[in-house]
Symmetry: C2
Subunit: 159 residues, 2 copies
Amino acid sequence: MAAKDGTEVRLDDTDRKILGELQRDASQSLDDIARNVGSSKTPVWNRIRKMRDAGIIGAQTVQLDAEALGFEACFFVLIRTSEHEAEWQRRFLRALQERPEVQEAHRLAGDIDYILKVRVKNARAYDAFYQALISEVKVHNVTALLSMEEIKSTTALPL
Amino acid sequence: MAAKDGTEVRLDDTDRKILGELQRDASQSLDDIARNVGSSKTPVWNRIRKMRDAGIIGAQTVQLDAEALGFEACFFVLIRTSEHEAEWQRRFLRALQERPEVQEAHRLAGDIDYILKVRVKNARAYDAFYQALISEVKVHNVTALLSMEEIKSTTALPL
DNA sequence: TATGAAAGTTTTAAATA
DNA sequence: TATTTAAAACTTTCATA
């Protein structure tokens, strides 16, 4: 398995269990993680460090309750473009990176070129985002899908 | 602002700054967070506890490098169904909850009924997922969008 | 891999503004 | 009511066996 920095890292079963524990609850103490994976403190600590250095383990974050914080609208935005020039793409990517309401952006294979996940306080805020985006870069066709209900949301990988 | 448990919680500027810090790096010490938000340890600790109890702050997790761990394929799946019965919906939701390759699932307004984000090791694994899903619940029409490139990925809210 | 000790952190409680 | 100070309990980190 090649990590971000190109290092080859081979993970064994214990490594995967450790990652599973960290994904589940990163606030656990080393002692707890060690107990849960059937090892002890020092080896677990060394493995975590190795995986951090290799970039396999990234930032530690908290999950916040978006609705409680007033982010009540979530849109998936399907984008088709006629432009495929390098310069256009650079501008488009920069616009996405800079806008904090864009939580995810993927370049797609096929008919639709890009998909975005956009989280905003309300529909008006989405419109403001949309107007700003199309004024910055030309896009051919945009379809916004409005989420009525978040059925499932996790970043956990099925290790 | 109403939290998950229905409690009213009013957040001030300092609360929002604390949430921002936790989102950015939840591994920081209380001292660091306090310094970054211009307060000190105990008040910050009390605020964090209040927000945790109110459910505004949820689980602490780590971001893992999906590619390095062999999850090389990511699909967005658009689903149309003709079934709108309660019993069908219950079965469908349970199927999504149970499948760990489904990282996100939303019920949508409009033409398309559901969108899923599905992360798997490769295209064959996606096909296995797809076959399993349609054998469990009847769906009318499924479109899979394959991600070629993850341009942006964050769970951070623009507080 | 295990032990253990030093440095640092979280948590609680009491004192103060 | 919110903040500072203080001290006990716990954790991380790392050297050494």
